[in-house]
Amino acid sequence: MYKKPGRNPGVGINFHHHFAGDILRNIDQIDFIEVFTEKFFIKENDETLSKILENIPLVLHGLDLSIGSTGPLKIEYLDNLRSLLAGINFEWFSDHISLTHENNFEVGHLMPVQFSEENVSKISIKAKEVASLTDRPFLLENITYYYPIPGQSMAEESFISSILESADCGMLLDVNNLYINSKNHGYDPIKFLSKIPVDRVVEIHIAGGSFKHGMLVDTHANSVSTEVWDLFDEVCNRVPFNGVIIERDSNLDRLEDLIDEVNIAKKIMKNNGIYKSNI
């Protein structure tokens, strides 16, 4: 039976190798840190990251589990994951409802999967397999998608909800992805929230996007927009989450810019009376 973590670590950022020293110097402003799961598959000694992890909690975020692939999970990936989860102290771990490879063909990004009962079943079985590797919560994240896969039989919110319930796992709710999808596919993000099991949401992602090719795009390379902050404010009201990660992968000259966004998130949470509150 899925059990929500009791801990509320607050607001953190995703780890940036280039800013590792700056993160350590600003550690008192960052409540926890998210590191790509696959970074730990490479057995490198990263002394600065080790020092960061001595100070603040860690959450793991995978990119390449490819739980939406038609075939089974890759044995090598599972072995690496099992070994990592057994040897590191972390709060929870997550990956995306998507695929990064199909039938051994590497796509190179998070590709949407067909919203269908067949995929609910396949993904749920795999999610249970992954969750069984540890007693810490496993979360699945909603991705940005720009096109539907042909032959779909379910709406996005039904698809995600069915997977979470069937796999009995937690959710990483990416507010930027929700905002972008709602604009690109023309739906109300608040109604979306009312249709998913929000009590399963453990982590929130907030990031910036931009307008390209006639649509909103999830870039992780821009500041968080006012619209996404407003939606986050609504999320604070409706979703009993544990922690927030501000994501930025590129186009960042100073860590201070990310710290400013950490402080905005803290302020919104404080205004809603939920910053580091008991779950």
Binding site: F41, I42, K43, E44, N45, D46, T70, N80, S83, L99, H101, E102, N103, N104, F105, E106, V107, G108, H109, M111, V113, Q114, S116, E118, Y146, Y147, P148, I149, P150, G151, N184, K212, H213, G214, M215, V217, S250
Partner: protein, 291 residues
């Protein structure tokens, strides 16, 4: 005619997964859908779904493909640590589009940027009109990234290794030198290391003169700082390193080197100390495994 394996759903997902990695093919699928799909063996229902898909969502699918291509190129360029400083982004983009042009739908190419940067550098060297200086730099990048790729695929832990240079002096027969097996030693035209240094420092490399001679570069795991380091070495040092890697213990290596070169023990110790300090090697107790 391609026959995509699996049921109709698997086929559609796989076809779109392949297509989205190549905007040129996406354009082809949108512009002449019937002709494009005629190249595949599929059920009529699946064909009709794909025709509807390209009609209704083709523009966004193409946009997604273009975004993916840019990100893929950006990551590859980022992995080309020296090459990215001598080629403009626009030129690399042109080369990348040509590279994709040569990549068919059924070619299973790794999308890991380090791995793909190796393929991309090899492609530029063999198929694009680049001069000797540019070829040297691309060869340097691909050699460095080949070592990095092997490091990334190395799942072993090295908790028991000793990084202390003072260890060199004590118990040499109980200590084995560990040089990571990804190490690569390669000959380049003389002047290459100066050229690379100038480019890395954003300085002019006009003064770098290539002679007909060769210089030897070693690309190795940097045990001190992580990642890959490069050193210019002499033929004698190359021999020294190969004996260190071959010998059963540090003492055994000293014996072999002393026998072959007559070099005094103190000199050997000082060289090994320098190797440890530069991150080329570490030590391990004889008989211990990597883990």
């Amino acid at each position: 005619m391609s026959n995509l394996s699996g049921g109709s759903h698997e086929s559609t997902q796989l076809l779109l997964a392949k297509l989205v990695t190549n905007p040129r093919l996406v354009r082809e699928a949108i512009d002449s859908t019937d002709g494009f799909l005629a190249g595949f063996s599929m059920e009529e229902k699946q064909k009709q779904e794909l025709i509807e898909f390209f009609k209704n969502h083709g523009v966004r699918f193409l946009a997604s493909s273009q975004l993916l291509m840019k990100k893929r190129l950006d990551d590859i360029v980022d992995a080309m640590q020296v090459g990215r400083k001598i080629f403009s982004y626009e030129l690399l983009r042109e080369y990348f589009e040509n590279y994709l042009e040569k990549t068919g739908l059924d070619e299973y190419v790794s999308k890991n940027p380090v791995v793909e940067s190796i393929l991309f550098c090899k492609y530029i060297i063999s198929r694009e009109n680049v001069d000797e200086r540019e070829k040297i730099i691309l060869d340097y990048d691909l050699t460095r990234n080949s070592v990095l790729q092997e490091l990334m695929n190395d799942g072993r832990s090295y908790h028991s290794v000793i990084r202390d240079a003072e260890t060199v002096s004590c118990a040499p027969y109980q200590m084995k030198v560990v040089i990571h097996p990804s190490v690569k030693i390669k000959e380049f035209p003389a002047g290459t290391s100066l050229l690379i240094k100038a480019i890395r420092n954003n300085a002019s490399d006009d003064g770098v003169i290539f002679s007909s001679g060769k210089e030897i570069l070693i690309f190795h795991k940097n045990w001190k700082k992580g990642g890959v380091a490069t050193l210019k070495i002499s033929p004698d040092t190359e021999k020294f390193i190969k004996i260190l890697a071959y010998a059963d213990s540090l003492g055994h290596a000293y014996d072999l080197l002393n026998e072959e070169t007559g070099t005094e023990l103190d000199v050997l110790r000082s060289v090994v100390t320098r190797f440890v300090e530069s991150g080329l090697c570490v030590f391990q107790s004889v008989g211990r495994s990597y883990v």
